[in-house]
Symmetry: C2
């Protein structure tokens, strides 16, 4: 899982002109590592490094050199043999692969504790993603502004989506409301969903969905603490 359990189908196609035409499906694991590589490259860029080998990248960020090369190989040839990778170039390429060269618009559904924190967090920190709308069922919350957006009623979801054209829905409602809100997001035309509710959603085909479940992580740690002799 990252989000561990059931997730949306993975589909093909890589970076636009990258020499990997009808490549096979890319795994979630690989994609998630690309994000990690990208983050690491940004850090290198910030500290002025211009070139790096897979080995050095691995050493500095606790990764595997072979795996870096294998992962990158799925999207093209980005390095120079005998030299390594140009930091700025690889960074740009990975951004292209992950389609971070354009902005992704988000709508947050459910503005409780978590939803509110997510709106603020995303509003501030997350370059490449922008919260364009938020809805909540509770009339008391409607009209309030959070992190630059005004909360609208859940019932108007469809209209809000038409007006603000988000492509990714962020579900932060209580578990019992998750499925209906998920279905509503799909019906409204959202292209992907990030789900924070602790439920096994019945997924719509063609709408990639990732689950983030705090409780699952805590329970894993609870097990590991005891397994380690706690």
């Amino acid at each position: 899982m990252a989000g561990p359990h059931h997730e949306g189908p993975l589909l093909k196609r890589a970076g636009e002109r990258a020499p990997r035409p009808p490549s096979p499906e890319v795994s979630s694991l690989t994609l998630n590592r690309l994000s990690v590589y990208l983050r690491s490259l940004r850090q290198l860029q910030a500290s002025g490094e211009s070139t790096i080998s897979s080995q050095e990248l691995a050493r500095r960020f606790h990764l595997s050199a072979t795996q870096i090369r294998k992962d990158l190989a799925q999207f093209g040839e980005f390095g120079i043999r005998g030299v390594g990778y140009d930091v700025a170039l690889l960074e740009a390429r990975l951004r292209g692969v992950l389609s971070l060269d354009r902005e992704h618009r988000l709508i947050v559904v459910g503005v409780g504790n978590l939803g509110q924190a997510l709106v603020r967090f995303l509003a501030v920190a997350e370059e490449g993603f922008r919260v364009v709308a938020a809805v909540d069922k509770d009339p008391a919350k409607v009209g309030r502004r959070v992190g630059g957006v005004t909360i609208r009623p859940s019932k108007e979801l469809r209209g809000v989506v038409r007006e603000t054209t988000p492509e990714i829905g962020v579900l932060a409602v209580p578990p019992e409301a998750a499925q209906e809100n998920y279905d509503a997001l799909v019906a409204a035309g959202l292209r992907a969903v990030l789900n924070f509710a602790s439920v096994n959603l019945r997924l719509a085909p063609g709408v990639p969905t990732k689950n983030v479940d705090l409780r699952i992580h805590l329970e894993e740690l609870a097990f590991l603490v005891r397994a380690a002799g706690g």
Copy 2:
């Protein structure tokens, strides 16, 4: 790896008297699915079901029957051939396996947007886990109460840990402060860490650590949206 990148080592040992003495290491994937099964069983219990087969469990919650049986097999024999599983019994067993039969104490480090939401979320919603302390570097935040705990200064971490004896640390500080705070948690004797900062931590051996990285999930969805023809 569900939490995608580097994570702590997995260790052995299952449910106390379960007939699986020195079982091999349990994978993160299996553990995370156990959490899902447990959640599903709770729901069945709530709706009054007393017995269920792996097949029916799979059908209702979009899981795999074989996988349920294989996962459970790592910890003992919990079912009755020809019949299925006793819902209440299996629920109790899984809680035992995951060591949810006792309370796990948490300390939250960093009480910004996310940290605050986490404290409140955990304070309210998460049975089996309890936030016993929160610390923050910012003197302006110190002394304020959030979700039942009073924020204390990060500098007093060691003392706070001695007083409140948490076993799991929840890291919700900015990326640049993550490593030092992680190290401080380890030094203070925490047994596990749930990290929300976007960094590749240099992990302490013997301290299981899970990363939850919002940005990684969003980037995966960004890729998938385009791959699906967006």
